[in-house]
């Protein structure tokens, strides 16, 4: 594109060819308004391409350690690792899409394990009551955050930080060490799977992701989630009731975090009041969502992308575990991946105002300059 731009004659200097210049001019302007090159991969395709690359590199590194990345046991391990963070990240995707944020997820995860384990007391007969109980509590936590964000206009960051702290304080005062006992049926579920390759927990994640994707695509709620995250004023002016979707996604996010807690409980067998914060699910889930191509400001993104982001983290963790990498280096690699990914996305999604004239070089405003807001120029 830049090659044709270079050859575009200066419109002012060739008045006789004005009409043809005008046409070429407008075509060029139109192209400039599009994201650079229609051939550009969308971010979901990009993230899965990166995932394939990460898997290939990991397979090679694992092989160098004399092990097989694609062994049944290893695939099981990767998929298991994906399922907990995956469920949380799916919920986080919803919340971020609507333009909010949920920092309370690790505490909700912990809360879920202790409430469920405490309710089950190691008996299958208590299972259903404990599950319902747990999920209702999680839903209430999400509801409170949703109301804070939508009705009281508290930013999601603060609302969830506050609620998260409250839950964390409740956990710390009331539970020291492990608590309760998971029912045998739940623990069996934690060990079950298909053909010793695909754990049940991963299937639960896939089902949840599918349901959320269908919700986003085929319900008004889903459409309005995107609309509110994209531009709350536009949504409101179009007659969208903006409070309801925000509350709904916060409830869903907390429910999914609660579900993730139940999956953890199925593996640990006991409720642990700090398991969520140890897993650092708040920052990791946000990172996975952003890595998956969802805009942190909302309005654009997908659950499919998030799963890709979660998978990348799971594979990286797995290979670093196999290689017995120093845990600090692990974090370093994770951090690097997030920052690089976001830098790449930022470069791809610079909002450009189509220029009026052909520059001899692309004379577009740089991302950080104050020009971004001049698009809404001169509204008298």
């Amino acid at each position: 594109m830049s090659a044709t731009t270079d050859r575009t004659p200066d419109p002012a200097s060739t008045p006789d060819a004005a009409s043809s210049v005008e046409n070429r001019e407008s075509v060029r302007r139109r192209r400039a308004a599009r994201p650079r090159g229609a051939r550009q991969l969308d971010s979901t395709a990009l993230i899965y391409l990166v995932l394939v690359g990460v898997i290939v590199v990991s397979a090679v590194l694992t092989a160098m350690e004399g092990r097989n990345f694609f062994s049944q046991g290893n695939i099981w391990a990767v998929l298991t690792a994906m399922s907990v963070l995956g469920l949380i990240a799916v919920g986080q995707t919803l919340v971020i899409l609507v333009g909010s944020l949920d920092l309370s997820v690790p505490y909700v995860v912990s809360l879920s394990t202790v409430i469920a384990a405490g309710g089950m007391k190691g008996l299958d007969s208590n299972l259903s009551a404990a599950l319902v109980n747990t999920l209702v509590v999680c839903a209430v936590v999400g509801f409170v955050m949703g109301v804070l964000v939508s009705v009281f206009d508290v930013h999601g960051f603060i609302a969830s930080l506050g609620v998260g702290l409250i839950v964390s304080g409740y956990l710390a005062t009331n539970y020291q060490g492990s608590h309760g006992d998971a029912s045998p049926a739940l623990e069996l579920l934690g060990r079950s799977g298909i053909a010793a390759v695909i754990p049940t927990s991963f299937i639960i994640l896939l089902v949840a992701a599918l349901l959320v994707t269908l919700m986003l695509r085929y319900t008004r709620l889903g459409h309005h989630v995107y609309a509110i995250g994209g531009n709350r004023d536009v949504a409101r002016l179009s007659g969208v009731r903006t409070a309801l979707p925000v509350i709904a996604v916060h409830v869903l996010c907390s429910l999914l975090a609660g579900l993730a807690g139940l999956l953890l409980l199925s593996r640990t067998g006991v409720g642990l009041p700090t398991i969520g914060s140890q897993g650092r699910y708040d920052l990791l889930s946000i990172a996975a969502v952003v890595l998956g191509g969802t805009l942190l400001s909302g309005g654009k993104g997908s659950v499919v992308g998030t799963l890709g982001g979660v998978a990348i983290f799971a594979v990286l963790d797995n290979v670093m575990g196999v290689m017995q990498v120093n845990p600090f280096l692990k974090d370093f690699v994770r951090g690097l991946v997030i920052v690089l990914a976001v830098a790449v996305y930022a470069r791809r999604s610079v909002v450009r105002r189509p220029p009026r004239f052909a520059g001899t070089r692309p004379s577009l405003p740089t991302p950080g300059s104050i020009t971004g807001s001049t698009t809404k120029e001169e509204t008298a």
């Binding site: 085929y218 609309a227 531009n231 179009s238 189509p354 405003p365 300059s369 001049t374 809404k376």
Partner: protein
């Protein structure tokens, strides 16, 4: 209801508004306006900036509630407290700022908030029907080449506008208001808009068309209503008006005389700022010079590239072609910081967004520029600042008051103080008196005169013609990103407006 069938008889009254009045904070913006739109007509609404056009549109669109007045749509009296109510009643509006979600598809934008559903109230969204209806709407407008599933971000401005119009039509609109619909369009895109408008009027839709471009008004409109200072001036059939007559009706007001006289002791000096052939993505082929002690006004329509020209000089946009010289030596600025270092001052048009840190104190704001660019002069500036501010008659309890609690005029004075602290050689002013009261305006004008006495060159963009004419030594008129011409001090408003709209550039020049 199928959106593409003619539903309204031509000639009947689609909308009758009577006695529409609105005031904001005691300022009457619109005073007892009557307007009748007939089905199938394009009704032009013209007037200078601030004449009340936007306010009228917003009241009809349900954005503002009128203080007084009634609106009758299709024989029924209506009142809107929300834009959606207006749309449901059949009044749709295509604003200059599009209300579109960039990351969503055309179909999702059009049906936002009323997505069709399968199987009744709680069913899933019927995406197939959304797509079908969208494509039907677009075909009905005679638009080909747009598919319902395209992301709005990937559309050109003209295409986005088509989406807005399609959305307006999808409410089965009787009346569609369009605010400066061609402001961002290229010539051949304007043709497409015309053809869409003709299709709509053939269907019996009434169009309220607001534009500064007189040619379009005469091309499209059968009736023209002229507003001035919130008052109704005239409503006439287009055939009974000439362009010259229209311009006279728009501006026919006595030039107010509160501009301070040009001081006699100011001698215009050498060329201070000189642009030759400057061009980039926003402006092109700009050649101008401003002399020391001179005020050069830049007039032009909204979107004609005036702001961008100032931004280019200041280093916000890179210069792709041509050159800029300051006091005879070449000036190369690629960032605002370098602009400040070269002692250019830029008073931006939107002081709240770009001129001030609203929740910081007067002193911090006033010292903002000097602190960040000439830190060693901060001490001096801080000592002088109380004097500078009181000289500008800033009314405030103390210098530590947050600027957000100041009136618009006092905020603007803080902005001025902020820039005076660098002892500018050139002051670039963008709408220096927008939204400030008369007293503050007068002080700003006096300050401009004082600056010229000190040999500062002032380049001022303004949409207020009396201001441009009353203050400038020379007037440059911009049109579509280039300079359309130069007029001497004291030129008539008709001449400036004519040149800016391209209506009568020959006789005006």
């Amino acid at each position: 209801m199928p959106p593409n069938t003619p539903t309204h008889d031509p000639g009947e009254n689609a909308l009758v508004a009577t006695g529409m009045s609105k005031s904001f904070f005691g300022n009457t913006v619109l005073d007892g306006l009557d307007l009748t739109l007939r089905a199938g007509e394009v009704h032009g609404l013209v007037g200078e900036n601030g004449a009340g056009k936007s306010t009228l549109m917003k009241m009809l669109a349900g954005v503002h509630t009128p203080d007084r007045g009634t609106i009758v749509v299709g024989g029924e009296e209506v009142s809107f407290s929300h834009p959606v109510q207006a749309q449901r009643a059949g009044v749709s509006t295509v604003f200059q700022e599009f209300n579109l979600l960039l990351e969503r598809t055309i179909a999702e934008n059009i049906w936002l908030g009323r997505e069709p559903r399968r199987f009744g109230r709680f069913g899933p969204v019927d995406t197939a029907r959304m797509r079908r209806d969208t494509e039907e709407l677009l075909t009905g407008l005679g638009v080909s080449g747009l598919t319902a599933g395209t992301l709005v971000r990937s559309l050109s401005v003209a295409e986005q506008q088509i989406v807005e119009i399609a959305k307006a039509v999808s409410f089965d609109a009787r009346v569609i208001q369009m605010d400066e619909p061609t402001a961002a369009l290229a010539d051949h895109e304007v043709e497409l808009l015309y053809s869409i408008i003709r299709r709509l009027t053939d269907r019996g839709v009434a169009i309220l068309y607001v534009s500064h471009r007189l040619k379009e008004i005469f091309d499209l409109c059968s009736t023209i209503t002229i507003l001035k200072d919130g008052q109704h001036v005239a409503t006439r059939p287009a055939t009974e008006l000439s362009e010259a007559e229209l311009v006279r009706l728009m501006v026919g007001r006595p030039l107010t005389t509160y501009f301070p006289d040009k001081p006699v002791d100011v001698a215009v000096g050498d060329v201070r700022l000189a642009l030759s052939g400057v061009g980039n993505g926003y402006v092109d082929d700009i050649t101008l010079d401003v002399r020391a002690g001179e005020i050069v006004g830049i007039a032009g329509l909204q979107g004609s590239g005036r702001t961008e020209l100032l931004e280019t000089v200041f280093g916000v946009h890179p210069v792709a072609r041509g050159s800029i010289a300051l006091d005879g030596s070449p000036l190369q600025v690629t960032s605002p910081r370098q602009g400040v270092r070269a002692r250019l001052a830029f008073i931006t048009e939107d002081r709240k967004a770009k001129g001030l840190a609203l929740n910081q104190s007067i002193l911090d704001n006033a010292l903002g520029v000097v602190r960040s660019v000439f830190p060693r002069r901060t001490g001096t500036a801080r000592r002088e600042m109380p004097g500078v501010l009181s000289n500008l008659d800033v009314a405030a309890h103390s210098l530590s008051q947050e600027v957000q609690f100041l009136s618009g005029g006092n905020q603007q004075k803080v902005v001025l103080a902020r820039w005076l602290s660098i002892d500018p050689l050139v002051v670039l002013m963008d709408e220096p008196t927008r939204g400030i009261d008369v007293g503050a305006k007068h002080r700003v004008y006096e300050l401009m005169r004082e600056l010229t006495r000190q040999g500062v060159a002032v380049l001022m963009v303004s949409s207020e013609l009396p201001e441009v004419i009353g203050m400038s030594d020379r007037i440059l008129v911009m049109r579509d990103g280039t300079l359309a011409g130069e007029l001497p001090a004291g030129a008539s408003e008709e001449a400036v407006l004519g040149m800016a709209t391209g209506a009568a550039s020959e006789e005006a020049a």
